[in-house]
């Protein structure tokens, strides 16, 4: 077999069949699925959650993960955020002509391992190949189904003044690992992405009776962007206790040197939980072993536009700086 992806591998003919049988089969725990146009599933009773995602990260491989691991865990985590146990995933691959097969094999191994870690099965998928220059190596699209475990809806509308904000772990590892890989930053010790399944912590929160009013995983745009969305969706102000925010080692120094805002760095294995005031202790007990902690509270909006405010170590307050989506390092 060739050592690189060819256009023919996406052509529907024998090359493609060979690719699927040889390289992609490890993704599927049931080889019968490979021969079907659609997966046939027997789903447990109850409400289902459904989510979709696309992964376009560069570089494809980085400390602590790769695009495949991100794709599988990312969709599973989206399901966990509405209180659903992730069950099944579909994986669509868009491969660039010229992608080394050795790299594809590593990504497939990684996705298969992530699926096992997350407790999902990959049941459907698709493969396409585009010309050299049209896909940055690999793009991965995933969709997933989960079974709702939470009795109460976990939607931002449930968030109310008096609720408490908790983080499941420290901030910035994934964003910093990507920055380091892209810009050749020499970090001692090196920082690895925090990409990890979130369902175990969510399940523990639900089992402990934390009754979360909101759960959001932090991904692109970091904690800052999630809180802005939650404030707008809930109509409440969110007030963070800045000294309580746990930054991963190296994040503070790197952000200062590069002139970046730590609260906008991406994470891939962290979430924020909004719980009623009387459930704060229960939630803290669940999240503390993973480095999680209380970081703030929900208040009634002080102005027509709900805000995210930070209370500094000096007792003053500031608003979260706006984030358009582009992390631009500054020298000033």
């Amino acid at each position: 077999m060739a050592e690189h992806i060819l256009l023919g591998h996406g052509g529907g003919g024998s090359l493609m069949q060979e690719l699927i049988a040889t390289e992609l089969a490890p993704l599927y725990c049931d080889p019968v699925q490979l021969g079907l146009d659609a997966a046939i599933l027997a789903l447990p009773h109850g409400r289902l959650a459904f989510s979709s995602d696309a992964s376009v990260v560069q570089p494809l491989e980085f400390a602590g993960g790769d695009i495949g691991k991100l794709a599988v865990i990312g969709t599973a985590n989206d399901l966990a955020m509405v209180g659903a146990r992730p069950l099944h995933l579909s994986v669509s691959l868009i491969l660039e002509e010229g992608l080394p097969l050795a790299l594809l094999r590593r990504l497939v191994r990684s996705m298969a391992a992530a699926a096992i870690d997350t407790g999902v099965t990959i049941v459907a998928g698709d493969t396409k190949v585009v010309e050299r220059g049209k896909a940055d190596g690999v793009f991965i699209s995933t969709s997933g189904i989960g079974l709702l475990d939470s009795p109460n809806p976990i939607t931002p509308q449930a968030i109310s003044p008096g609720d408490q904000l908790l983080l499941s772990g420290d901030l910035g590892r994934h964003g910093l690992a990507i920055l380091a890989a892209r810009h050749g930053l020499d970090l001692q010790p090196s920082v690895a992405s925090d990409c990890a399944p979130l369902w175990p912590q969510v399940q523990a929160l639900l089992a402990a009776g934390a009754e979360p009013h909101g759960l959001r995983d932090l991904t692109r745009g970091g904690l800052g962007s999630v809180l802005v969305e939650l404030a707008e969706a809930s109509g409440c102000d969110l007030v963070l206790d800045e000294p309580a925010l746990p930054l991963a080692p190296g994040v503070a120094a790197s952000c200062e040197l590069l002139g970046l805002e730590p609260l906008h760095l991406a994470n891939e294995g962290r979430f924020v939980a909004v719980v009623p005031c009387d459930r704060r202790a229960a939630a803290e007990a669940v999240l503390a072993p993973g480095g999680g902690r209380w970081v703030g509270a929900v208040q009634a909006a002080a102005s027509p536009q709900p805000q995210v405010r930070l209370r500094t170590a000096l007792g003053s307050e500031r608003l979260l700086p706006p984030f358009s989506g582009d992390m631009l390092p500054r020298i000033c």
């Binding site: 925010l245 730590p262 805000q307 500031r318 608003l319």
Partner: protein, 382 residues
Amino acid sequence: MTWCVMTREAPARPFMPQASPGKAVAAVVADLQAIRTRRWTLMEVCGGQTHSIVRWGLDQLLAGAVELVHGPGCPVCVTPAHTIDQALALAMHRGVVLCSFGDMLTVPGSHRGSGDLLQVRATGGDVRVITRPSQALELARAHPERQVVLLAVGFETTAPAIALLAEQVRVLGLSNLSLLLAQARVVPAMAAIAAAPERRVQGFLAAGHVAAVMGQGELEQLALQRQIPVVITGFAPLELLQGVLACVRLLEAGTPRLHNAYAQVVRQRGNPAAQALLRQVFSVADGPWRGLGTVAAGVLQLRPSYRHLDARLRFGLGAGGAGACGEAEPRCRADQVLQGVLRPTACPSFGVACTPHHPLGAPMVSAEGACAAYLQRSSRHG
């Protein structure tokens, strides 16, 4: 791990305690309240100081005692609009790689709808974000077939690094790297503000990092000639507040002179090697600041032996005169804001037609421009 970047480096220094930052800061504010007999108006000149003030809410802690007016020391804000237009034109040029610090990527040009460097990148221009000038040198050496242009903005803190790059390019004999220069000098702008008839500013908080390069001489002269206290400060919140306290002491005593409150970094002479490099590469000239007009002795220009590195000459762009700082956006009142005579909140467009995502002028673009800084104030503290 708690987040408290009070002092910016691991070892504690004698007058910056790591523990109980709130207490140390409260003590300085208490001292200030004890000695002042009235409310004073101070201007911090450097965008880095503005950033720190907003980020730590220092003006909230000083409310009632001191009003802090944000000065024009933000290169993003004062780089002439014409220079941005030239950068946009160069970036669209095939064969050119335009290198810029990230701060400049969303600054609008002089014409409405001219876009910014980020938009030019989206439509195919080769725009590279760099964090140090040496990256432009590496690019030029790696790509001899391309013309690399560095949009070289900044004040005297950045000027030595630009001068070093110019000298390295000259020594290496590289013919594919040039500079689109917009280097400004801080003290002449301070002098212009101090000389303005409608001046509200009673004391200056001078930029510690500019002083680390240039030393104290020019600032001493400014304090004496304009009879206005000037205090050199650092950028950590405690350093800034200690600087404010020192300035108020000078004001209460009626002694308008220079005081160095950042002695751990700033020496009387500054950095002689950096100054020698600046003199070798640059000469001082009158030049435009966006929003302020022509500032006497306010800009740096390349000396004759480095003029072949001037991107304007290399690409036939034209120098742009005093009129080059004119704006096509009539609603923007950046000139009054940058001189400290108009509070951004008093501008009718503030936060409405003019926001960081859709700025009418430069002070709303930069994280430390006066207008963007005001927008980050919590609404409860106005």
